[in-house]
Structure formats: structure tokens, C-alpha cells
Amino acid sequence: MAVEPQTALLEATEDRRAAGSEPAGAESHTPGRESRVKRWGRRGSYVLVMLGALALWELIVAAHLFPAVALPSPVHVLHSFAKTATKGYLGKTLGQDILYSVVRVGIGFLGAVVLGVPIGLLMAESALVHRVVDPFLQLGRPVPPLAYIPLFVVWFGLGELPKILLILVGTIPIMIISTIGGVRSIPQQRYEVARCLGAKRRQIFARVTLPSTLPEIFTGMKVGIGIAWSTLVAAELIAASVGLGWLVEQAATQLRTGIVIAGIIVIGILGYLMELGIRLVERAVIPWRGNV
């Protein structure tokens, strides 16, 4: 299993530990969820920290520590944002850039999930499939997706296909590995209960393996969406004429630092929102997560 320093994976490890050690200890409260007061407290503190950072930023700009072209003020960035949003930049509005980037990430990421989960399940269930696919996975994983770009451009041109495929290729390993990890971490007793009650192989797969794997699949998705975004921005830096990565790159070459920073913030917010979306789906699909 991958040892990514991501909090999501750490969460998953904790879930698994809870599953293994004391399922009988579960009581009427749900330890996986914080109370409403606590949650709002946490959100409040996030807002405070952001406001503090903005104030510090403004202070640094006011002190003229850096030239304005290197570090424009927050207000200037807001201006750039508004201008890019309304009038556009280099013929493309911010809305178009967002739309293109979101669609590319969305398709590439969903493709990675839709392909990666079954591949992971097959690899976990069949030693033969594992033996065939794993070498490619191990070889491919350390390669940064960017390294594939020249090849993909040769193969697929400069259109949307190479970008989406790049995101898919960048994101699929984490989906496969999370799924395999999810299957491998299923406590033996979950299977034995089913077998005792007369379950056949296929029934066990559908009724025990699949639901048991869902938490790790969602963990993989939460990590994967970040990978998808970084892959996309990298792809757009090289071969694109629209998109947030392209916007940031173009603005940088013309020293429009305000737009660069605005673009970066937009990318951050979009990535965060997508992860939030995954969390909402997760809560609906596996409310039992952390309550095993």
C-alpha cells in the first residue's frame, strides 16, 4: 500500500485499526463525526487564519519589502481577478478557463475512478491479474505524468484527448492502489461470517468485498482529486490555449503577477470544492465509515 503523506490515508489507517480491534466497543455516539459546535469552531478558525494571512500580506506590501510586480497587494489581485472574470485575458474569460479546466479534470478523474477501481478489484481478487498488471503499476508510478506529455502530444496531438488522458494516467495508480489496499485490509471474519451463512464466492464479492472496500476507495478519490488537479495544471502549462494552467503561465510570461496569483487562488478553491464534493458523496454513501 502506498505510503503517501496524505491525511486522508492516515484517516483510513485509523478506520482500519478501529475495524480490527474493537467493533464491539462501538456505542451510540458516532466517533467519526465532530459535533456541530466543534465543526463551526473549526471553520471559524479557518476564516480567521485566512483573514490574518491577508492582513500580513497587505502589511508586507505596504512595507515595500518586494517590488510591486513581484508581490501585488490583495486589492490589486482582486482587481485582476475581476478584470479577468469580466473582460477576460488574451481573449479567454476566467469563466472559460474554469470551465475547460473543470471539465478536463472531471473527465480524467472520473475515468481514473471508473477504470482504476475495477482494475484494483481484479488485481486483489486474482493473483494472475496482479502478477501481470503490478509490474506496470510499479514502473509507472514513480514517473511524473509530465514526462508523458511529449509522447502524448505525438500520439494524440494538442487537443483535449492528451490532457484528459494525462490526468487519467496520473490519477489511476492511486485509485488502483487504494482499492487493492481496501480489499487487503478486510478482516477475515467478515468473509467467514458470510461463508458460515452459506455465501458463495460471487455473493461474497458483491455483499462483503465491495462494500468493505468503499472507505478506501473514497480515501483514494480524495487523494486522487489533488493529483488530478496538479496533473492538469502541468499539462495546460505546456500545450493549451485555454484553462487555468494556461492562464497562469501566460500571465507569468507577461509579468501580470496579479492574474497569476488570482489564477492560483482559483485553482486552490476549485480543488478544495471538488474534494468537499467527494466528502459529501462519501458521507451519503458510507455513513458507517469510522463506525465499524
Binding site: 474493537e22 467493533p23 464491539a24 462501538a26 456505542e27 451463512l197 455473493q203 455483499r207
Partner: protein, 335 residues
């Protein structure tokens, strides 16, 4: 008539696959019989092979040699006529209590007899909690649900592996009484594993005490106490006598194990078969004085035992404990 018959069953882990080198026997030449509707308790120190023995009957492990006959035919694979109940409930968290109980019936295909499911949930006293996810229930209630999930299959034998070992004392006592009341009502044999002497005596018609390394049957004792059994019986001479014999055997077994590992007592024979029927042998009086003696009460298990770790009946059922001792209306077996 015997529902279960084990003849000279030996199990070595690592054998069976080609090229696998066989380790020492985990279970050696165990023979036992279990009558229809009999309640057999199996007592033994941690690691002696109790779980392995049960898993052989369940069909999860294959005996290296010997025969395991269930209801007249060889045990080859797990099946719902021999349902196992584990120390932890292992309910599926994505299913409601009701769906968990119905799990085995749904596997059979065809229409699920939901009336029967609900009756069984009622029998185990969880009717108010059908729609709850299992993790909202206390440990004791979860174990009741696990019991209902097993019983709804109408098994001919319940294989219980220290099912109350993880519960606090009060909940455990409730569930012991509850299990007995259920068993008296249902036509089911029980093979009940425990490392708690009192539990073994209080529940069983008959008790086996296992020896260790290799796992074997060191002592077989009928428990001729009247039913219904009560806590008060634990003070009766008959109870205490059975208890003494069981503890003596456990001490003997521990000494033997110590002898094998070479910490004194090396002169004791390493062949556990000697111990069969030898409960209360004269030399055990001295063994009691031995330093190993205090470690061999059968309650000295390793980390597995976690009594009193605050697993409370959190969402307590009104009168749950009382219900356990009273007759339950309506046969869940349904004609």
C-alpha cells in the same frame, strides 16, 4: 443420536499444500461426540487449539487426518447448518440490524421470510432496534444480533468461540442466561468455547478440558446440575467439585506445557493422552503449590481477554435482562 462425531482428528498447519513442511500438531487425535441438542462446553488455556477445533467443525480448516462427521456426512466446507458465532459480533456496518439478521436468508435466493426475521429479532430482544445500524448498539446488543443472525438459519449446531469474552461481567451474565433460555427453546446443539471455568460449568451439559501443545482432550466431565441453572449454583458442592477437577486438569496441562519448554518439571511425560480421564490425580495437590499453578487457572489468557473495558449496555432495552430468563412467546422456528 450424535449430530457431530470427530474421530482421531489431527491438524498440522502448513501441511496439505504441496511442498509445505508440516509443523507440530495443533490438534492431535481428538475424538468427541455431540448429541442432538446437547450443550457442550470446551475449556482450555489460551493457544491450546480451541478455536482451531471449532473451525474444523465449521469447515474452515481441514483436518490433516481423522474424520469429522456432521449429521452423518463428512464436513467439507462451511455451511449454514453449522453456524459460528465469534468473540466479536462482526455485523456488517453498512446493513441495518434487520438486514444483518436476514443476511444468511437473503443469500439463499428466493423470497426472504421477513416475518421470521422479525420474530428472531424479537426473540433476542432487539425489536425496537431493527432499523438501527449495528454500531449504534452496545456490545451486548450487537452480540444478540449476531446470535439472531445465526439462529435465523435454523442451524443444527451453534459453534460459539468465546462469544461473551469481550463483554463486561454484567452483560456477560445476562447473555449467558439469555443463551440458555434460547437453547432450551430451540432445537439446537451448542459447542461453546470458553476459557472461563465458571462459564463452562454453568452453561454445559458436558465439559471438555483441553490440553495444550498439541491440543487434545485432557478431561471430559458430565455436568449433572439441574436446569435452569442459576448463579447461586456456583456455591453448591457439585459445582465446586466439577470446578476443582477442571482446574486441577488445567494445572496439570500447564505443568506439562512448562515441562516441554524445559522450565523445570521436565520429568513429566509430554504425552498428553495420559491426562484423559485423569482429573483429580493425586499429584495435582502438590502442583497447586507449584509456581506454575497460579498461572494455570484458565483465566490467564493473553490480550484476547478484555473484560470490563467499559462496554456497557448503552442503549439499554427495557427489561432486557429479565426477558432473558423468562419464556419467550412464540416459537421462532415457526412450525
Amino acid at each position: 443420536m450424535a449430530i457431530l462425531e470427530m474421530r482421531d482428528v489431527t491438524l498440522r498447519f502448513g501441511e496439505g499444500r504441496s511442498g509445505g513442511d508440516a509443523g507440530p500438531a495443533t490438534i492431535e487425535r481428538v475424538s468427541l461426540e455431540l448429541g442432538d441438542n446437547e450443550f457442550l462446553t470446551v475449556l482450555g488455556p489460551s493457544g491450546c487449539g480451541k478455536t482451531t477445533l471449532l473451525r474444523i467443525v465449521a469447515g474452515f480448516e481441514k483436518a490433516t487426518s481423522g474424520r469429522v462427521l456432521f449429521d452423518g456426512s463428512e464436513v467439507k466446507a462451511p455451511g449454514s447448518e453449522r453456524v459460528m458465532v465469534f468473540q466479536q459480533p462482526w455485523l456488517y456496518p453498512w446493513l441495518s440490524v434487520r438486514k444483518n439478521v436476514a443476511f444468511g436468508l437473503e443469500l439463499q435466493g428466493g423470497r426472504v421470510d421477513w416475518k421470521r426475521v422479525d420474530e428472531m429479532i424479537d426473540v433476542v430482544g432487539l425489536s425496537g432496534f431493527s432499523s438501527y445500524p449495528p454500531y449504534r448498539l452496545s456490545g451486548g446488543m450487537q452480540q444478540r444480533a449476531a446470535l439472531a443472525r445465526a439462529l435465523v438459519m435454523s442451524p443444527k449446531i451453534l459453534l460459539m468461540d468465546e462469544p461473551f469474552g469481550a463483554l463486561d461481567a454484567q452483560t456477560r451474565q445476562d447473555l449467558q442466561e439469555f443463551l440458555l433460555s434460547l437453547w432450551e427453546r430451540l432445537q439446537v446443539a451448542v459447542m461453546f468455547i470458553t476459557h472461563d471455568v465458571e462459564e463452562a460449568i454453568l452453561l454445559g451439559d458436558r465439559m471438555l478440558v483441553m490440553g495444550t501443545r498439541p491440543g487434545c482432550i485432557a478431561l471430559e466431565l458430565p455436568i449433572e446440575l439441574p436446569r435452569p441453572r442459576t448463579e447461586q449454583m456456583m456455591l453448591e458442592p457439585a459445582f465446586l467439585e466439577i470446578r476443582r477437577q477442571a482446574l486441577d486438569t488445567l494445572r496439570e496441562v500447564a505443568l506439562r506445557a512448562a515441562g516441554i519448554t524445559g522450565t523445570g518439571a521436565g520429568d513429566l511425560p509430554g504425552v498428553p493422552a495420559d491426562g484423559i480421564g485423569g482429573g483429580g490425580a493425586p499429584e495435582t495437590g502438590q502442583a497447586q503449590q507449584n509456581s506454575t499453578g497460579q498461572n494455570s487457572t484458565g483465566q490467564n489468557s493473553t490480550g484476547q481477554k478484555s473484560t470490563g473495558q467499559g462496554v456497557n449496555e448503552d442503549v439499554r432495552l427495557p427489561g432486557a435482562a429479565g426477558q432473558a430468563t423468562e419464556p419467550v412467546a412464540g416459537s421462532p422456528r415457526g412450525a
